[in-house]
């Protein structure tokens, strides 16, 4: 994609001149690939090891200021099952690791942010390292973008039974948290962060402050369990709004990799009591879940919802479809749905419950806002 820029000038005696120049967008590696590493070990200046945050479990309660934020750099937060609470504001985490487990399946949250102006750069959100240092068989670190590439394990069947094969490629439910990051205020930024071993990765709540997620890699969910298990089964998501009240406004999700055997949504902008406003989901790489994308759900009247230049790929089969049908939303109120491409991973095929039984020859088709596939873009 390129753009032509027009420039002009006038000199001292009134002569004028004009010119044009072109700028071009090139494809950058999606997060988690060698050309775009994420997580604490790839933070600029990483010294080779982390310093434990002490005392372990201590919350972040002291705020910085907008001009002088407090910076935590290369710290290891061993959050146990209780998680880290960040009520403080003006905090920057750089190259940190946050560990958490959920031994009682009690909805553990790794990091909860209630403060304003909190940023995470090149951080790792992981299960407790003592329980699972890496996903089974290396997971997505071996088979980017996540464990199970090409195995054709739909996250669950239509009766919420997890695919039996998931036990071999996911960590046990108790090893990782239900929530890696819960954001209750803003602005909040996650950039070049690595998330794995969760049920619901990032959840947001009602705020109008800017929430931004750029170049993050979300992969390798924990084993989702069965609906009859204690606590029920996980409804695994990537980034979303789940609590059914007032959705946050002003959310940017750009150039992230969100691929997993989660059984709900990579983009989980689920229904609330009011319409969505000012969300941009741009140039992300996504695979798996039931509907990979739910965007534009809830009451009618959403405005400025942008979903462009995304890739929906079949490394992990979506249980039902790439997108839940919200086509009408994207035909009004400044909303835009464009240039979203379907990608067929080699040797994959539609699984039995998928709504559209796609064909491999459709590789490169456009995915429309109703979840269908077409050789031409959404109108």
């Amino acid at each position: 994609m390129s753009v032509t820029i027009a420039v002009s000038a006038t000199d001292a005696v009134g002569a004028t001149a004009s010119a044009t120049i072109t700028a071009t967008q090139t494809a950058a590696a999606y997060p988690g690939q060698s050309g775009n590493p994420v997580g604490h070990t790839h933070a600029p200046g990483y010294p080779g090891s982390l310093t434990p945050h002490t005392p372990a479990g201590d919350d972040i309660t002291v705020s910085g200021t907008a001009a002088n934020p407090i910076v935590y750099q290369f710290k290891d937060f061993e959050n146990g099952a209780n998680g880290l609470y960040v009520p403080a504001s003006h905090i920057i985490f750089i190259g940190c690791r946050f560990q958490c487990s959920d031994p009682l399946i009690a909805g553990a949250t790794n990091v909860r942010v209630d403060g304003i102006d909190v940023e995470f750069h090149y951080c790792s959100f992981v299960p407790r390292v003592a329980l699972a240092a890496t996903p089974p068989n290396g997971g997505g670190y071996t088979t980017w973008p996540t464990a199970g590439v090409g195995l054709q394990y739909a996250p669950e069947d239509i009766n919420s039974n997890p695919n039996p094969g998931l036990t071999a490629i996911c960590i046990p439910r108790t090893y990782g948290p239900q929530y890696h990051l819960t954001i209750n205020a803003g602005p909040c930024l996650c950039d070049h962060c690595d998330f794995w071993g969760f049920a619901n990765c990032i959840t947001t709540t009602n705020t109008t402050a800017q929430l931004a997620f750029t170049d993050c890699w979300i992969h390798d969910t924990r084993y989702p369990g069965h609906i009859t298990d204690p606590g029920g089964d996980d409804h695994g998501d990537g980034i979303g709004f789940l609590d059914g009240t007032i959705p946050p406004q002003n959310v940017l999700i750009q150039h992230c990799t969100i691929c997993a055997e989660g059984n709900t949504n990579a983009i989980a902008a689920q229904g609330g009591t009011q319409p969505y406003h000012n969300w941009s989901v741009i140039n992300n790489y996504m695979s798996g879940f039931d509907f990979t994308v739910i965007f534009g759900d809830g009451p009618a009247g959403g405005t400025n919802l942008i979903f462009t230049d995304n890739i929906l790929s079949t490394e992990i089969p979506w249980a039902f479809g790439p997108v839940q049908d919200h086509a009408t939303v994207f035909r009004a109120n400044g909303c835009q749905w464009a240039r979203n491409k379907f990608r067929v991973h080699p040797s994959t095929a539609p699984t039995v419950n998928q709504i559209d039984q796609w064909q491999s020859s459709w590789d490169g088709y456009f995915v429309w806002a109703d979840g269908s596939y077409h050789p031409t873009d959404f109108v």
Partner: protein, 86 residues
């Protein structure tokens, strides 16, 4: 860049004598050289636009660049320079 035109003519006095004249006029014009750095980069990259006059008579007044959907931010104290995100 500039170009010239030569004007010639004849003047006759009231006694019928003639004389020729010739004058060279320089037409003011110039060109612009525009450079974007980086010209090729991933989406979302902050880029610099520099516009440099070639020829002409200083000082120059620069119009705000235009491109669909792009906002150009002037670089303080640097006429002819902007940043933008694309």
């Amino acid at each position: 860049m500039s170009s010239t035109i030569t004007i010639t003519g004849t003047v006759t006095d009231n006694a019928g004598a003639t004389g020729n004249y010739s004058v060279v006029v320089t037409l003011d014009s110039f060109t612009l050289v525009a450079v974007v750095t980086p010209a090729n980069a991933p989406a979302g990259t902050t880029r610099n636009l520099t516009v440099t006059p070639s020829g002409g008579t200083s000082p120059f007044t620069f119009g705000t660049p235009t491109a669909p959907g792009i906002t150009f931010t002037p670089v303080a104290g640097q006429p002819g320079q902007w940043t933008f995100v694309f």
